[in-house]
Symmetry: C3
Amino acid sequence: MDINLNVDRFNGLLYELRQLDVRNMYNNDFFLTWEKTDDELKAVWTVADILRTLREGNVSTRVFDSGLGISIFRDNSTRTRFSFASACNMLGLTVQDLDEGKSQIAHGETVRETANMVSFMADVIGIRDDMYIGKGNAYMHAVSDAVQEGHREGVLEQRPTLVNLQCDIDHPTQCMADMAHLLHEFGGPEGLKGKKVAMTWAYSPSYGKPLSVPQGVIGLFTRLGMDVVLAHPEGYEVMSEVEEVAKANAEKSGGSFTKTNSMAEAFKDADIVYPKSWAPFAAMEQRTKLYGEGDFDGIKKLEQELLAQNATHKDWTCSEELMKTTKDGKALYLHCLPADITGVSCEAGEVDASVFDRYRTPLYKQASFKPYVIAAMILLSKFDKPDVLLERVEHRGRERKKGTEYVCNLPIL
Amino acid sequence: MDINLNVDRFNGLLYELRQLDVRNMYNNDFFLTWEKTDDELKAVWTVADILRTLREGNVSTRVFDSGLGISIFRDNSTRTRFSFASACNMLGLTVQDLDEGKSQIAHGETVRETANMVSFMADVIGIRDDMYIGKGNAYMHAVSDAVQEGHREGVLEQRPTLVNLQCDIDHPTQCMADMAHLLHEFGGPEGLKGKKVAMTWAYSPSYGKPLSVPQGVIGLFTRLGMDVVLAHPEGYEVMSEVEEVAKANAEKSGGSFTKTNSMAEAFKDADIVYPKSWAPFAAMEQRTKLYGEGDFDGIKKLEQELLAQNATHKDWTCSEELMKTTKDGKALYLHCLPADITGVSCEAGEVDASVFDRYRTPLYKQASFKPYVIAAMILLSKFDKPDVLLERVEHRGRERKKGTEYVCNLPIL
Amino acid sequence: MDINLNVDRFNGLLYELRQLDVRNMYNNDFFLTWEKTDDELKAVWTVADILRTLREGNVSTRVFDSGLGISIFRDNSTRTRFSFASACNMLGLTVQDLDEGKSQIAHGETVRETANMVSFMADVIGIRDDMYIGKGNAYMHAVSDAVQEGHREGVLEQRPTLVNLQCDIDHPTQCMADMAHLLHEFGGPEGLKGKKVAMTWAYSPSYGKPLSVPQGVIGLFTRLGMDVVLAHPEGYEVMSEVEEVAKANAEKSGGSFTKTNSMAEAFKDADIVYPKSWAPFAAMEQRTKLYGEGDFDGIKKLEQELLAQNATHKDWTCSEELMKTTKDGKALYLHCLPADITGVSCEAGEVDASVFDRYRTPLYKQASFKPYVIAAMILLSKFDKPDVLLERVEHRGRERKKGTEYVCNLPIL
């Protein structure tokens, strides 16, 4: 196909973008959603929608003729890796993976040096480091500080900006994609006001899943005037600092943030449910300490305790019965994927197979926002006037995939 | 160099392409050659030649300004990996590898989910999965079905098409490249009619080599009116379904398909020989079953049996003596590489060192068609009017490698 | 930003490039600096500076619309990998890694075949193979010979050229980057004449570090009329062939090449110091032999001996005391990184932490030249008229990162 842009939609979104103050995003990192203003978050969703509109209209969104996106993952990650790769590709950046061992890159001097050594052509650095409490976000800041210093000292021609692809505190690309999905499903921010969302723990036969999703969700969703309920069994508390963020957000936005130890209470009349396993914060703190001490017997013992503790909460599952108690029995079911599906991926897990089946398409759509959200974060951090840039991109009218509609009078692009 | 296109050759090939009905290739996968029409196969060879002509003339064949080619390999594969990467690069796609463990991606729900999660920006997916009988081709279909559903449901903006980079049944990119080589060596399809080709088993000290090459060869070469002889020791039968395909092809094309247990008989007066080791189909079926049962003792035992069985057929080798019995002693020797060369890569193997030496250049040329064949398959599946596209590419006249011939009046490309 | 080129600087460098005879670099490899003429080395530095000037001015240096850079590493290598990837990206090439096992690719037939199989779309091949004495450089020549033959025989449409990313003899991309740094710091070749540089061994708790850096340094720095002193404890000799090169160079350039077993003597009044650990040449020869024989007990024993031998030279360290004895106490400290820093990365190492700290920014700058040096080597080997090419690149005026300065009258690029 040739270019087939929905121009009205594009212009509408561009108009929205122009109302927002994004000046502070330029040449800046994206660590935690609650470090960003409302305008800045809106800009991410708006630019994500613009990029999607352009792509669906076969307009190339390539804004870098060359350049690198560096990805640093402490853990295997197919989905996040592909989302980052897709985002970079869409903008014209090539991904180069930094595959250092899990511990090798940990110390101050090494972080500083490696960060500079891999950044000579880097426009952006994406990091996933969610394993150890108190470490991931700190590591990202260390990398960012190092490349800023490198740029100041004339080593790096530019400052590579950083996108947090999941840390110990927040999972901003996931939660921003989740919210992009909700904004589409509920007709924008107005449609979300006063809606009840249940962010609840759910049983999984594995242990030690990161806290960044529940923390990211309560830290973000409370900003949109929603009634956010955090539910988990006793002992599965999340970071108290993030709960404070959620409380303050709710107060400001006119929503609410409440906690309960009952999944049923959280699901009751909920418009949106997000049942998902995570590890107790205190246990993850302990695990981090044990790793630091190299106490592998202690780690093994802790793992056994956690699995046993989990197993006492198998009733925390997103069952058909619970779904019936939600608003009209039709709450929107969210998950960051992959889910532990009862009878499919495990004997007993986070969700009934029939519930998951019914929501498969919405779940995939939820995930589909992530590459666009990441691309939007990159774009907003690399270009001082994103609105002008996107107008130029539209005006350029370059086909992403070469068209075959006509032969005569072809512009030589 | 600047652009230096052989315009006559380009126009001739484009004219040929225009005679072919390729409508059904658009938005479609390439699984098995015998699922394609004669026109469709011809289109692959023609487009491959056009791409090669353009590249040799320094005309950029980049038809994607951005986009991803996903590669999924169940096995290490330098050659196929590079061929796919080269094909993608030539068209403007960036390769992103999906490196999941061998078994991890096996189940229904996971295949469906992963296929969609990696495909948000994917234009094409290349899969090599040849290890287990009854699994590889089925897996590819599962992936294709999943992304088609994802596209239908609005998750994926487009349908990524799939290229079979080797399955348990066929090795279409290899065999189409082999045939491209033959078409060049023998002056097109007319020159191949009535030629005798010996697809024969040959001894190798390793065991369990895939059946996809001999199966692919008899399933394809029989369509060109050739006399195809399949030779192997008793017990090294290929899939009977593919033999049926070969028989039907031969009947339709005016060629023949015969079988023998004598390598000498196959080589006698042959115009083309393709001596290559493979594993018995029945044994591979058994191995697949043993893997499914996790019976590793059984696998080890089977391996020993197969090696012992192989060792009784060391006389099945492409020797100078046998080569002398071919047409004028000068049959064209084919191999998909790497070959087990007697006295070079092993003590006793598939071919004499002197034979291999003499055919090294033709063998490398044979291999050189693969990137172009893969690129042609991708192009034909992604563009509804490949002829118009290629005309536009030529008209655009963009240098692949920037030229240095003149300085004045440079067009700004 | 839009384009913001320092045109005077660009024109000045282009003028310099035009004075140099680079005809023999076209379609040629880069193995050892002493195989290149003075003009050719100057061309590398000049083109590196031009590329940096263009990039800093946001002018796209993309000269390939598509194409591959193949990287072959026998060893893990974050820094070299990123430098090569950055260089390729800057020119428009996509990197494809060849990940074969350490020994798998060693034999004649295999080298020849693999080299061709990965090169169908390859413009350049970068190889790092520094582990075994007598092997690395030889392997690179084997690859180069193979692809030249492939091109001659019509297998490869072009001849991929080769860049030595470190071999057993030289480390040209490192040493050329080191020298680019010196040329910038000392005001060009005139500023370097008569300067004293101490290339000295230093203690490290690890063993077996490559000899390619000290060898590369004495083989290159002696060409610029510098007084090069090579210092090491007895038993840490480098290849005598390279010492001969250094002597001949010094004679021709009007500099000098001397040796000493005293670090203090080397540092005395030095303008530049390069203290760095390496393994004794003779021991590396022995290790190569032991590997060839598969004598792993012998290797372990050798390792213990070498570590013990190292440990008797802990006083060979770049201390504050030694630095005070250099010219005005302010010699420029060089290192190829990563350094073994006393009290930081190890208990006792190559350099005092306070010395390293003071020189961090210059060290990072030193490293920052490498991607540009590699890109310059590629460019000079792939384009017959690099001056015309670079003029066209400047004239094209394509933004690397799309600009946002103006909206009206935009050229459609």
